[in-house]
Amino acid sequence: MTEPLLTIRDLRTVFHTDEGLVRAVDGVSFDVGRGETVCLVGESGSGKTVTGESITRLIRTPPGDIAGGEIVFDGRDLTTLSDDELRELRGDRIAHVFQNPQGALNPVYTVGWQIVEAIQLHQDVTRATARERGIDLLDRVGIPEATRRFDDYPHEFSGGMKQRVSLAMALATNPDLLIADEPTTALDVTIQNQILRLLSELQAEFDMSILLITHDLGVVAEVADRVVVMYAGKVMERGGVFDVFERPSHPYTRALLDCLPGRGTGGARSIGGKLPPPTDPPDGCRFHPRCEHAVDACRAGEQPPAYPVDGDDDHVVSCVHYEPGGDPSVVRGEEAAPTDGGRPVGGDTEEDDR
């Protein structure tokens, strides 16, 4: 396998707050290969967005701080680059699309102005060329009558159209890596599908890698090549999309999948309990307070290291039951006793903590 485009090793991003040190991202590692779509999943507050924004150091410093780790993009460690060098990369080779299309466009400028801006920040082209290019892009992302709408203001577009415009802005410089932070969350399901299909098409056309941040496993199943499951700043499980969906190995991944309606026997289930306080995470595995399979080994020490699942180095899980000599069937109840259904039941409460 060729060298991945983006390699993140042991990334630690912290925030200095009045309540204490928040370890938003605490030792996260994963790769994004060329032309690949990697999904970062987890519930709100698990550190997905901070991971995405740490890559090009978009987090505000202070209070944020990248406390450790390596982010190697195309052979260069981004954590060692100066602000100016990073700025050259941002938007040029690494582009972002954000969750809220209402907010991602500046209300005082026309969308055309903003696309031209995105182009001219990195390329030495005349306004006319940039404009032509911008209209092309708008057309490509599916804005009807692109020439006419080029000079419209953001408030004259619907949410889905705005997200298409954001996408056009991100693609303006033909980036190698697109970091899409919940790009479809604010949109309704039909539009969501259109945008996802568009993303896949554009990925093939522009030959770029996508790091898609989402909490929606339906989206993951549709577009991902590989999946990284995060919980409370740690990676719980990581692997190819088929491996993770076919053989979910971490109790948290299994619980997440059980949250999907129509999977398993009954309807959707929620995970009992809630995320640990970010300033004071529990010892041992971060998930143990909500895990029905927790044993004493889970409650002490550090988050368990990433163990391969079934000897597959590309599918790893951070759970003590998978350590060499351990017994994964504790977690994968249904394989041992399929009659049981094996669905992990949450903690004591059934409360929905969203």
Binding site: E88, Q99, N100, L105, N106, L121
Partner: protein, 391 residues
């Protein structure tokens, strides 16, 4: 302006070579403004260093010895042209929308028309009209179509009917006790008021916006330092500094504008900061940074335009404040004695109120209506630009 075109070429070629693609971050308008600014500086240096002080700067088409204050005023007008008129013209659709909103307030439309008239007459009038001089033989002439007891004027220019002196069209608003024509004084006063209002406000708004946005976006230590300095400046008694300098050097309008312009921006900076703090958290700021925009670029092109609505609203309400303040200082003879401001004329006429009421009344009416008009316009602008504050 032959030098102007030269600077254009040099400026552009230098910029291209040195910063390459960064040039695109300076818009055409910014470049235009920069060129015009450089031209003004060049003209000022020429006038200041090369021409003897007594020689008028321009002799064609009119003779006009440009003073320090005039240079500032011209700069202000250019700034208004580039950063108010040009954007309004560039975004015609948005302008049309604002105009529709603004039009709903009839008093404001009337005020705007009135202020435009005052502005135009104030800018052009003093260049064309001779400065009123002492003419004791023409003292206390009544306004046209009105009359006064013939004992009041020294020498009635009109007809005397039934022992009453009739006003003439030679002095439509009458004359003062010095024999100066009040209409001419009012026109000169318009220019003084426009200079005071516009230059001081421009200084205040520029510095306040810069400090406020940088503090909000810089956060942390930058924010702390800037805002604590604002706190100190807000308790600094600029008025006493002005009194002291007036005592030492004599009153001057230039000094008034510079002192109050350079010390009065604290509250605007606070206003801008609170607004910018909110804006800085918006996703389009992150989006701009993710597109590779630098700090200054984000502040200038994304933060400032988004706070400009509240700044413009605040500015229109600042202008009448400055005008009124200058008038009160002039009324107390703390103003510039060489400048015929409305406050000064009102003060001159106050001892004659019983016999020659028109001396104080006409400048007073103009002062009153001008300030009222600015307030009406500010209210309507706030409704049009900043609908959130309406409820």
């Amino acid at each position: 302006m032959a030098g102007g075109t030269d600077t254009t070429d040099t400026f552009e070629s230098v910029d291209w070579e040195e910063t390459g693609s960064r040039l695109s971050t300076l818009s055409r308008r910014d470049r235009g403004a920069l060129v015009a600014g450089l031209a003004i500086v060049a003209a000022f240096l020429y006038d200041y260093l090369l021409l003897p002080a007594s020689r008028p700067t321009i002799t064609v088409p009119v003779e006009w010895n440009v003073t320090q204050l005039d240079w500032l005023f011209v700069t202000t007008l250019l700034a208004l042209l580039f950063y108010v008129a040009v954007p309004l013209y560039d975004n015609r659709r948005l302008t049309a929308y604002y105009w529709r909103e603004f039009k709903k307030n009839r008093m404001a439309v009337l005020s705007l028309a009135y202020l435009l008239v005052v502005f135009c007459i104030g800018v052009v009038g003093p260049i064309l009209l001779e400065k009123p001089t002492l003419a004791l033989d023409q003292a206390y002439q009544p306004p046209a179509y009105l009359s006064v007891d013939s004992t009041v004027p020294v020498n009635c220019l009109g007809d005397v009917v039934d022992g009453r002196c009739q006003g003439t069209m030679a002095h439509p608003l009458g004359t003062t006790g010095d024999g100066k024509d009040i209409l001419v004084l009012v026109v000169y006063g318009m220019q003084v008021s426009m200079k005071v209002g516009l230059i001081s406000t421009l200084l205040v708004v520029t510095i306040g916006t810069a400090v406020g946005t940088v503090a909000a976006y810089g956060s942390g230590l930058v924010d702390e330092l800037l805002m604590r300095y604002v706190d100190i400046q807000l308790v600094f008694p600029a008025f006493f500094l002005y009194l002291l300098l007036t005592y030492l050097f004599g009153g001057s309008l230039f000094m008034f504008i510079v002192i109050f312009g350079l010390t009065g921006w604290g509250s605007i900076a606070r206003l801008v900061r609170s607004e910018a703090l909110q804006r800085a958290e918006e996703e389009y700021i992150t989006a701009a940074r993710s597109a590779g925009a630098g700090t200054l670029y984000v502040i200038r092109r994304h933060l400032v335009p988004n706070v400009s609505n509240s700044v413009i609203t605040a500015a229109t309400l600042l202008i009448p404040g400055f005008i009124l303040f200058e008038a009160s200082l002039s009324f107390l003879s703390l103003g510039d004695p060489t400048v015929p401001s409305w406050g000064q004329v009102i003060a001159n006429g106050r001892s004659d109120l019983s016999t020659a009421w028109w001396v104080s009344t006409f400048p007073g009416v103009f002062l009153f209506t001008t300030i009222l008009a600015f307030n009406f316009m500010g209210d309507a602008l706030r409704d049009a630009l900043d609908p959130r504050q309406e409820t």
